[in-house]
């Protein structure tokens, strides 16, 4: 008999993979699949608890979660189709004009591939002590 812990760890791993994929990708379909992955991680938690408690409510609830996820997939893919028709791209950053009014657009920044250490000038020591008198000054004295 497998332990309950294994199922919970599996659900947590699925949820983390989905979360990381959702925040780190810009492709709409990849983000949607990551959201689905998070949903299935939660569903595995439901199944594990319901199975180890001998309670059937959780399992039937997961069936309803799956049916709602199927509806969500249909609607989300339809929305992705019309968004692709509008901009000919699946990149979500093309839709930044949907942001709130007081937010700045999130622009890409160039990643500096050259090591910046070799570009900076070498450090110089500060001048310490008295500057030695020049010859002109020495003639006045």
């Amino acid at each position: 008999m497998l332990d309950l812990k294994i199922y919970l760890i599996l659900g947590a791993i699925l949820f983390c993979i989905g979360l990381i994929g959702f925040v780190s990708r810009r492709n709409m379909i990849t983000m949607f699949l990551s959201a689905e992955l998070m949903l299935q991680g939660v569903a595995i938690n439901f199944l594990a608890f319901s199975r180890f408690r001998g309670n059937l409510q959780g399992q039937s609830f997961v069936l309803f979660i799956l049916s709602v996820a199927a509806c969500e997939a249909a609607i989300a893919l339809a929305l992705i189709v019309i968004l692709y028709r509008a901009k000919n791209s699946l990149d979500v950053s093309k839709w930044q004009d949907l942001r709130e009014e007081d937010l700045e657009p999130n622009e890409d920044q160039e990643i500096l591939l050259v090591d910046s250490y070799h570009i900076q000038p070498m450090p110089t020591l500060p001048v310490a002590g008295h500057r030695p008198a020049k010859e002109e000054d020495a003639s006045h004295v």
Binding site: L63, V68, C71
Partner: protein, 48 residues
Amino acid sequence: MPADNTTFLGKLLFSDQLIAVELAGLLLLVATIGAIVIVRQLPTKVSS
């Protein structure tokens, strides 16, 4: 027993949660029709 589990799950679904199952089926139908309506390309109006 896994077979008993499935048996009880089916009995639970079609006795206590029958209304929820029917609503889920209706939701699937509505989502399908909605997806078709969203994706369908309307004929472009000819601007004269």
